[in-house]
Symmetry: C2
Subunit: 344 residues, 2 copies
Amino acid sequence: MAKARTATITDVARLAGVSRAAVSKVIRDAYGVSPAMRERVNGAIEQLGYRPHVAARAMRGASYTLGIELPHNISNPFFAKVLDGAMDALEGTPYQLILAPVGTGSDHGARALEALVDRQVDGIVAISPLVLPSWLERLAARTPVVMLGRHDHSVAYDTVTGDDTTGAHLVMEHIAGLGHRRIAHLTRNEETTRPSTGNPHAVRLEEYLAYMREAGLAERIRVARTGPSQEAARRDTLALLREGRPTAVFAGNDELALGAMHALSDLGISPAETSVAGYDNVEIAGHPAISLTSVDQDGVLMGRQAVRLLLERIEGRTEVTHFRVEPSLRIRSSTRPAPPDPAT
Amino acid sequence: MAKARTATITDVARLAGVSRAAVSKVIRDAYGVSPAMRERVNGAIEQLGYRPHVAARAMRGASYTLGIELPHNISNPFFAKVLDGAMDALEGTPYQLILAPVGTGSDHGARALEALVDRQVDGIVAISPLVLPSWLERLAARTPVVMLGRHDHSVAYDTVTGDDTTGAHLVMEHIAGLGHRRIAHLTRNEETTRPSTGNPHAVRLEEYLAYMREAGLAERIRVARTGPSQEAARRDTLALLREGRPTAVFAGNDELALGAMHALSDLGISPAETSVAGYDNVEIAGHPAISLTSVDQDGVLMGRQAVRLLLERIEGRTEVTHFRVEPSLRIRSSTRPAPPDPAT
DNA sequence: TTGAAAGCGCTAACAA
DNA sequence: TTGTTAGCGCTTTCAA
């Protein structure tokens, strides 16, 4: 009896009566193998149930692994959509996805990215991390990187973004068109929305501010800050409502919008009194019981496209690509005409 | 100028004036290194910004990578919770998570698991795949495996499950207690619910059937089949309602329950006419606009526990462990007293 | 406690 | 077109 080790390339070579290099070429579909040899080798592979050892391959060539850096809160269904799209694009390829959640620390995701580099990933999708562009560019010099969601147009890495300015504009136009003037914006903390980050929330906030000013509502500007979770949004909306009553709340994303709706419900405030709009158009927003007006951006497409760009890079593309997803507004019953303004 | 290669263990050894083996011992916290040497080596590591090359380590020792096999639909927030918990348990460890989505094929997830084995993962969390127990046991002989959600108690792998019989019983008891007799069960397809799979949906279905029989409602049994998505559940609930009107629907999970509620809303049927209950207690179930009665099972805990069991195994534990999460019913306004039954 | 040496399974020059 | 050879960076005996 032979040892029950798992078959290696050497075993295959021996069985097929060829060199290891020949086997290597066959499994990589490399140039310069005769059909006869290919057939013999494939026969041996099948017979032995041989599967190439990824770690060994990674030492010389590719690891066939893509890394995705993402915020810790997958519970936000938008990220789930992105992840879904990314996995989708990988189906049928030999590549696999490795996850690097950004911790709660203040490293802005640098640690998570480093963990991916340690694993010799062949490419990285980073979902709007807060690391410095310079840091990212250094990384991108060694490994293909696609930034998802962030608006800086580096020449070092590809990007996949939604047009958040347009999206936010659509929301504001819609809400203002319904007669609202006391429109509050519920968004993430200062660090996340610092303009230099190019973070989607930063861009949406900018557009909110710009729109309010242009509409002559500068003194009505009201920005409430909150955490990433629905529950945080609920609490902070409660606080917001205690300090004065906006007639509409534009939330930075649907997760926050759902929290805001929850808060309104807690206080017995109906949608007719206070409108809410979100961003991302997650599935539940379309549920009749929620019916949340939101900006649709195709998260699945974004994730898929990010991976595609990465694969293209790995195949040899060198010029930078910026892929932009068009947003579109889904108007639902959470936004209603403004009630008569007692202050006017 | 030296080449700008990234530092290897040899570089560290040279700078510290020790052998490579010594460096290896330090980075692995292995037995038999003097404090003085440790310090010297750590100094050199820091100075060079050395990071061990994971692929190289994987060739001899551990890959520091855990694999998680999951259904393709991360969009189900329950899976997101599990993933969240798993990532959580990994924080602060050198381990990373690699994703293996189960394709749409009929291999029952075997391909996905194989991809993980190719990557020499140190352990695998499998979320209730449909692969044969024998297949899994063979796998578990080589690599620690934790099965999440499946009810077979193998001696080869650990399991983390909810008590689905109890959970389903709680739902049925509650609904029946409200006076309902025409209770339908909305669940996944036959393949998924085949009893031998030990799948949670299979167990919930069993309990539904058992309860109905024991309550003398055998002839009222009504099982509707559907896909995993909300939209599929909506369509199939519409069909269900067209063929007779149950007064309550017990859905196999919240995703299906939301689809059922959507269908009821489409037809203008109020919760007072037809009750709905789900399973998983996803976050949105607690939202006042949804207010879905559901069985809470702590997905985050389950994911975290699965990874913990894996790490324990890797550290050397040999006896099998079965971790069970207790379910508890969250009663909300989606379940109401049964309307008077015209058929009675 | 430390180091020397062998080799994990694969790929990439290069030679035949 | 095929094979030979030399490692990739690390861990692991085993000897000093």
